[in-house]
C-alpha cells in the first residue's frame, strides 16, 4: 500500500514573502474566491484517490462507506475552502485534517456512538497560528515531507499503521507481534529523525 521510499516533492514552493505558491493552495483559493468548479475538479482528481486509499487503510470500512467518505470530505473541502490560509498550513495538511476528522466521525456513527462532540471539535486548529509561528511551522512541514523518504522501513511502517490505519500503539504491537516497547521506541526514533520532538530549549 505504502510507497514510503518514493516520496517526491509535490512541487510546492515558497515565495520570498513566505506565501505558499503550490498548485493545491491555488485551487483552494480559486474555490473560495470564485466557486471555481474546474479548480475543484483538479483537486478532486488528485486528492479523492488518496482519500479513498486513506478510507480503506482503516480496513473496517466497506467500499460503499469509503465512497461515502470521499464524497463527504471533498464536499467539505469545497464548503470550507474560505477558511484555508496558505500562510498557515500546507493545502494537503488542511485536507488531511478534514479527512481524518470525517473518518473518525464515520467510525463513531457506525458504532452508534452518541456524542455531542465531533472529531473537529476536539481537533487541533491549524488555522489559528500567529504569523511567526506559522512560518516556522511551514518550514518544518516541508522538512518532514523531505525527511520521510529517509526513514527505515520498519519505522515508516509503524507510523503508517498509527496514522493511516488508525491503530493504537498496542494494536500495532499485537499485529506485528512485537513488544509494545519496541513499537513505541520505533515511533520515537522516527519522530526524532523527522525532528519532531519536545524542544525544551526553545520552550517559550
Amino acid at each position: 500500500m505504502l510507497q514510503v521510499e518514493k516520496i517526491t516533492d509535490d512541487g510546492a514552493g515558497t515565495s520570498g514573502s513566505g506565501t505558499r505558491t503550490d498548485e493545491w493552495s491555488d485551487c483552494l483559493r480559486l474555490i473560495a474566491e470564485n466557486q471555481d468548479r474546474a479548480a475543484f475538479t483538479r483537486l478532486f482528481r488528485h486528492f479523492a484517490p488518496l482519500m479513498k486509499a486513506f478510507a480503506l487503510s482503516g480496513s473496517t470500512l466497506s467500499a460503499n462507506h469509503a465512497d461515502e467518505l470521499v464524497q463527504e470530505v471533498m464536499l467539505k473541502v469545497w464548503q470550507k475552502a474560505g477558511g484555508f490560509n496558505p500562510d498557515k498550513a500546507a493545502a494537503s495538511t488542511w485536507i488531511y485534517t478534514i479527512a481524518r476528522n470525517c473518518r473518525t466521525d464515520l467510525y463513531r456513527r457506525l458504532q452508534k456512538f452518541d456524542t455531542p462532540l465531533s472529531a473537529n471539535d476536539v481537533a487541533e486548529n491549524v488555522e489559528t497560528e500567529e504569523a511567526f509561528m506559522a512560518l516556522h511551522q511551514k518550514r518544518s512541514g516541508e522538512r518532514i515531507r523531505q525527511l520521510m523518504g529517509e526513514l527505515p522501513n520498519d519505522q515508516a511502517q509503524i507510523l503508517a499503521k498509527v496514522y493511516m490505519e488508525g491503530k493504537s500503539h498496542s494494536e500495532v504491537a499485537a499485529e506485528l507481534d512485537l513488544p509494545l516497547g519496541t513499537v513505541k521506541s520505533r515511533v520515537r526514533l522516527a519522530l526524532q529523525k523527522l525532528q519532531i520532538q519536545f524542544d525544551r530549549k526553545n520552550h517559550a
Partner: protein, 217 residues
Amino acid sequence: MPKFHPELDMLTDYSAGTLPLAQAACVSIHVTQCDHCRRLTSQLTDLGAALMESLQPEPVGEDQLDAVLARLDEASPLEYDRKVRSADGTPGILQRLMRGDFSDLTWKNVGSALRISHLNTGDPQHEFALYHIRAGGRIPEHTHRGSEMTLILEGGFSDAEGSYHAGDFIFRKPGDVHAPTALQSEDCICLAVLDAPLKFTDWRFRWMNPFLKLRTA
C-alpha cells in the same frame, strides 16, 4: 505557559485521531493553551498529511466526481465556533458540554474539600468530570485502577511529585498513588478523565462489576 505536557506518544495518537474522545477533548484544551504542544501537534499533523500523500491512490470513478459536483450547491452545515472562550475564560468545548457556565453545573460533594461534576462526552469508556477543590483542601490518598488524565483549569495543586498550575497536564498510570492538595491561595478547578475501572473477568468476582462502574454520563 504550562510546564507539564502530554507525552509525545499521546500527542501522536491525538494527531492521528486515535485518542479516545474524552481524552482527545482534554488534550485539545491543553493544546489550545500551550504554544509548545500546538507546534508539536501541527508538525505531527504535517506528518499525517505526508503519510496520506504517500499512499497508493485508489481509483475513484467519474461518477463519484459527478455526484460531488451535483452537491456543491448544498448549503454548508452549521458548525460551532469551538475556540471561543467565554468571558470567564471557560474553554469553548467545556461550554458546549456544560450547556452554560460553572454556576449551571450539578455538583456532588465528596468530603468537605472536593466536589465533582460529571459531563457527558458520549465516550463510553471514559469518565469526564470537573473537580473543584477548595483552597488548601486535600484529596484523600488514592490509587488509580486505570489511568487518570488531569488538566488544571484554574488555581493549582501539589502532590509528592510537584506543584501544578493552570494549563498543566498530568497523566497518572494505573497504580500511581497520590494525595493532591490544592494551593492555599485559591480554589482549584481541574478536568479529570478516567479510563475504564477494574473489570473482573474471573466468574467468582464478576458480581462486583456493577459496583465498580464508571460514570460516563
